[in-house]
């Protein structure tokens, strides 16, 4: 195994789960999330030589993942907004354990948000520092704090609205 492959393996192990969450949060679909994650890491592999002396490789990978997610909307012409109906929730109850059902419902609630809100909130849920989220999303830190506050409220409100079902 070459040095590049070993390095890539380490990067993949350290970041794949979070990138998968980001892609799942954006698309609301497990298969699409896997496809986007694969595409993201292919780009990471292709650009690995360009990564030189930058502060955090995770920031760099997140930036690639965010941009890959943004082009998914363009290429696939799909909207991840899947209206959360009683039907979906009933099916979820049958298919998943209580914990998984709640996580599934949370993903469906994230899918109700605007595209950039989905990306930001998944990074917040994964506890990335605000400075890093600002760097990845290209939004100023001050503006980001306001946005995050608004998105947190919006997501909590959507979740609680549907928890009654």
């Amino acid at each position: 195994m070459t040095h590049k492959e070993t390095l890539f393996g380490d990067i993949f192990k350290a970041n794949s789960k979070k990138i998968y969450h980001l892609c799942y949060g954006y698309t609301g679909d497990d298969d699409a999330a896997n496809d986007l994650m694969q595409e993201t890491f292919m780009k990471v592999w292709q650009n690995l030589d360009k990564f030189r002396n930058q502060a955090m490789i995770s920031t760099w990978i997140y930036r690639i993942a965010v941009n890959t997610c943004l082009s998914w909307l363009r290429v696939e012409k799909r909207q991840a907004k899947d209206p959360l109906t009683n039907d979906i929730i009933e099916n979820s109850i049958e298919e998943f354990s209580d914990k998984n059902e709640q996580v599934d419902k949370l993903y469906k609630c994230i899918a109700q948000l605007e595209e950039h809100e989905r990306l930001i909130i998944t990074m917040v849920l994964d506890e990335l520092p605000y400075a890093e989220i600002a760097e990845i999303s290209g939004v100023s830190e001050g503006n980001l704090r306001v946005k995050i506050h608004r998105i947190k409220n919006k997501l909590t409100e959507i979740y609680n609205r549907y928890e009654r079902f």
């Binding site: 896997n34 890491f41 998984n100 996580v103 595209e115 950039h116 994964d126 506890e127």
Partner: protein, 196 residues
Amino acid sequence: MKDFNALKDLWKGQTDEPKMNYEDLLKDVGKSNRSLSNKILLETLVMLAGIILFIWIWHHFSFLMWTTHVSLAILISCCLYYVTVEFLDYKSLSRSDQVLQKPDEYVHYLKEYSRSRHRFNTQNYLIYSLFIGLAICLYSIEVYYVSPLWQTILAAVFTIGWFLVCWKLMIGYRKREQERLDDMITNLEKLKNQFH
């Protein structure tokens, strides 16, 4: 009722894992690079074979009319144009610096790229087809002087048919492409606005 911290705990407790490991991914990287390179290589080889064939015809046959020389020059130019565009497109695809840009700049790049592909698939393709049609027309002048009448008529019918098919296909294609592009641009505008 749950607050945001409860949602965060829920998020942390999720057990879903990505369905792939990096060894499979590395295999896919190799396969995907090879399949794209093979496709471009095959298309380039076919076009190069076409260019060699036209040059061979040009040198081995003597033509009466200057229009036939123009016709062959146009056909060779069309093949060269196609090979060049393929090569530039391949270069642009393999240069993936854009993916490291800030998201709003990246969305801007996607918008411009979509527009340029649209221009290529509609305007440029129309011009490309017209030039091939023109080359066939010019060649049919030679056919008119050296071949029996039925061959001349056949060449004329073929040329007219070529134009009609291209025109008909292009109208449908342009309409579909325009709708697709409008949709795409609307989505990209919406995304771009979200980052401001």
